[in-house]
Amino acid sequence: MCPFGTISSFSFSLLIISPLIYLLARFDRRWASAFLALASGLGLYKLATMYGEWGLPSQSFEIIPNVTISFTNSPIQWYFAFIGLGIMLTIFLFEISWLSKSRTPSAHIFFEAVILASLPGFFMAGDLMTLYIFFELMSWAAFFIVSQASEKSEKAARTFIAMNTTGAMALLYVLFLLYTRFSTLNIEELRTLLPSAGAGFNLIIFALFVFSGLIKAGSFPLHTWLRKTHGNAPDSFSAVLSGYLIKYGSFVVAVTTVIFPSLLLFSNAPHFMGLPLPNYILAVLGGVSIIVGTLMAIKQQDAKMLIAYSSVSHAGYIVMALAMVSSYSVAGGLLHVLVHALAAAGMFLSMAAVKYRTGTTNMSELGGLVDRMPVTFATYLISIISTAGIPPMVGFVSKWLIYQSTITGGFIFLSFAAFFGSIGSFLYVFRPLATVFFGQRPKRLENVREVPFIMQLPMIIISALTVIFGVLPSIALKPIAEAERYYGIKPVSFSFSEIRGALGSWNSVLVFFVFMLGFIMAAVIFYLARKSVRVGLLENYTAGEIPREIINSPELYHYAHNFYRPVERLYEHHPSLEDFYETALGENLKKFGVFLKTLFYNHRLDWYLYVSILTILFLWWLL
């Protein structure tokens, strides 16, 4: 069978049978979810067999002359699609049990089937038209899923679709521009044709691509939809949104900077520290995104919104790394796609598990769940260690690679932003850990149990992968180096256990084993000493007196509300981009809309008379 036939048939057959999946879900939602898990597993298997068969002529059919629906296989596309299907697989496993909490399980699973179908189609697209179609399909399906969660989420879904449609329109406009100029939309052909176009044209293409990419990736200054959408989406779907759908934007950025050779296109543009100015500006936007995401994440009260802003920060890392287009930065950026996919899925799934049992993700209403939900806690812990970029998890590897690039390039602001996000992430990831899993447990959470095994399984898979890739990043770097070679960037140099950077090398296996050695030594010292007595959470030092209120309601003795108040106070009165878009843009747009509405739905017919007379007068004067 032709390998590309499998991708198109996977997408289209899944689209065609999605109504059947809806019916199956009406019958029994667990079977539908299991079926989709199986389908994504099958897709993963197909993709795995396609590794190495790059760039073969693709199966395609024409819709208008020279515009086709076609699929191709290149290392970057393969890499993105593979991660996407993997994340979807874990989510579907999770949903087998989680769907009982969904308000509309059948519709949820139906739209997720559509998203699953759009995924390989988008990432393996051979031309921009295919890319655009699947992009729209995904936005449309995601819109309906987001709107299902609660009353509040309808507004969130509207923000989501408004911004995503704007991005899609920008993409469509690029398509028109490119088609009128080159009369082709094939990505491989455009790669060779674009350098012949002028710098001005390329700049417009670049800007529009970046505009739509930043919206989808949730990067500054177009990140504002992320908080509402991720915070109010159905819990398991937040993991899809953050773990995977915002990577659609990262992919668009990768197309703009890496697949279209941006360094070559702007070789005559002014340079800053050896980087063309458009690329540098994009990298700076990524850097600002890191800082904004970090600061906003620190002040969130709701765990899901906190993770949403951490996604803004991580999208910033990816955009910044991909914009620099050096050997280390592209490797770091692509690896960070994997890192954030795993970490965000892990964090959101553990929060979904918490909500599944307790009904809330508001951090100040929770506490002390570590004894009750150990697997959920372990998943969250491993994911945040990766998010914060601490070895031996995979998050450290990608940040290390990105630092190699920012430091050797001498980019002071970009290094600053990268460090800022890294240290700031210690703050915000620790907050849910301290307030949800540790501290005093409110009385009403006394009987909370761990989630069923089928929900633990995906969390265990994600945690295991985070550790495995952290100890042996060479597994993940192999396709990345392949991608770099394919697009003419010097591939990053690594061996089984060692990665060689510009500033030095680091041996992941060695660091892991030395850490384990230190841990074992500490444990030996610890266990040789006298055994300790286990006491309850309420047997605390309280300066000699135990107030009765604490025993009756332990949550009073739990430091969770306004956790980072001293830091927040420093930027309390910051300008909000979200408010700006809502008031300055949103309100004015609404006024404009109302004005248009009065034109069409006005019952006072004299309006039409005035307008017609004015038009006739105007035409008479003109002609």
Partner: protein, 297 residues
């Protein structure tokens, strides 16, 4: 051979770290015109703590303490100590800084798991002030890594050989001062001791520890101080070819820190951040701009 060397490094770290803490108590006492405890008091204290009974608040409470001590022991092996260079060939500065973070995370987790709000507040303060002092530190190191094209701590020590004037203390003076200030934060010295603040939050993260827990964390604290100052000595004071000479340099830097911190009052927690981002960060950025401007080829 490597095993013997590792053992030597770990024993050096623990013994000399505890010795430093003893020196600290003595110095502070002398500044305050007291006699002070004997210099080996800290050894007695740790031995006593390990022999006493203790209370535990659960599995994470235990594991976090082991993670904290284990993480620092692991970090120590990557730092060159004079000629003792166990794993310093792969002693990448970025790796070392982040390995230290594992230890801090372990301790923070364990402390918060005790369920005492004082511990949570202490950890919050520790993380907050870390946000302050780490940034200038890393910005200076960014400039240094750019200028020397290496992130290896040993590599940076080696480029400074041949005379005192080759030391980065004189080549990169602004950066050296900034890193010196940041080290007060890393080792929790006044004015950066908001997380402990005994009078306000009952020693913060330490509030629930007793017996071997407190003993392990004292060892960790001693090791953190030793690792921290060793990095400074290697990067700014030219390292040392002689083991004893290296320890002497560490002692000198530490004594200076103790003398300064013993006459300074404590910052309020957000003052740490505003101060760090106002002055040290400003000078750190200036220093790295200078280094980058000089180093561009």
């Amino acid at each position: 051979m490597k095993i013997l060397e590792s053992a030597a490094v770990i024993i050096t770290g623990i013994v000399f770290g505890l010795f430093l803490l003893g020196v600290q108590r003595k110095l502070v006492a002398r500044v305050q015109r007291r006699y002070g405890p004997p210099i080996w008091q800290q050894f007695i204290d740790v031995a006593k703590l390990f022999s006493k009974s203790s209370i535990s608040h659960g599995f994470v409470f235990d594991m976090g303490v082991m993670m904290a001590l284990g993480g620092t022991i692991a970090t120590l092996l990557f730092v060159p100590i004079g000629k003792l260079q166990v794993l310093s060939m792969s002693g990448d500065f970025i790796v070392v800084v982040y390995l230290m973070a594992v230890a801090s995370l372990g301790m923070a987790m364990s402390a918060v798991n005790s369920g005492n709000p004082n511990a949570s507040i202490g950890v919050m303060r520790a993380l907050t002030q870390m946000f302050g002092y780490e940034l200038p530190y890393l910005m200076v190191m960014m400039g240094m890594m750019f200028a020397y094209r290496t992130s290896s701590i040993l590599g940076m020590a080696q480029v400074q050989q041949g005379g005192i004037l080759n030391w980065n203390l004189f080549r990169v003076p602004i950066g050296a001062i900034v890193v010196f200030i940041s080290m007060f934060g890393i080792s929790g010295k006044k004015p950066f001791d908001t997380p402990i603040a005994p009078a306000e939050i009952a020693s913060g993260p330490m509030v629930e520890y007793s017996g071997k827990f407190l003993g392990s964390l004292t060892l960790m604290h001693a090791l953190v101080i030793f690792v921290d100052i060793s990095i400074f000595v290697n990067v700014f004071l030219g390292g040392a070819s002689n083991y004893w000479f290296f320890l002497l340099k560490v002692l000198a830097v530490f004594s200076l820190m103790v003398l300064i911190s013993s006459v300074i009052p404590r910052f309020r927690v957000e003052q740490v951040v505003t101060f760090s981002w106002k002055w040290p960060l400003f000078f750190a950025v200036i220093q790295s701009v200078i280094l980058v401007a000089m180093g561009v080829r």
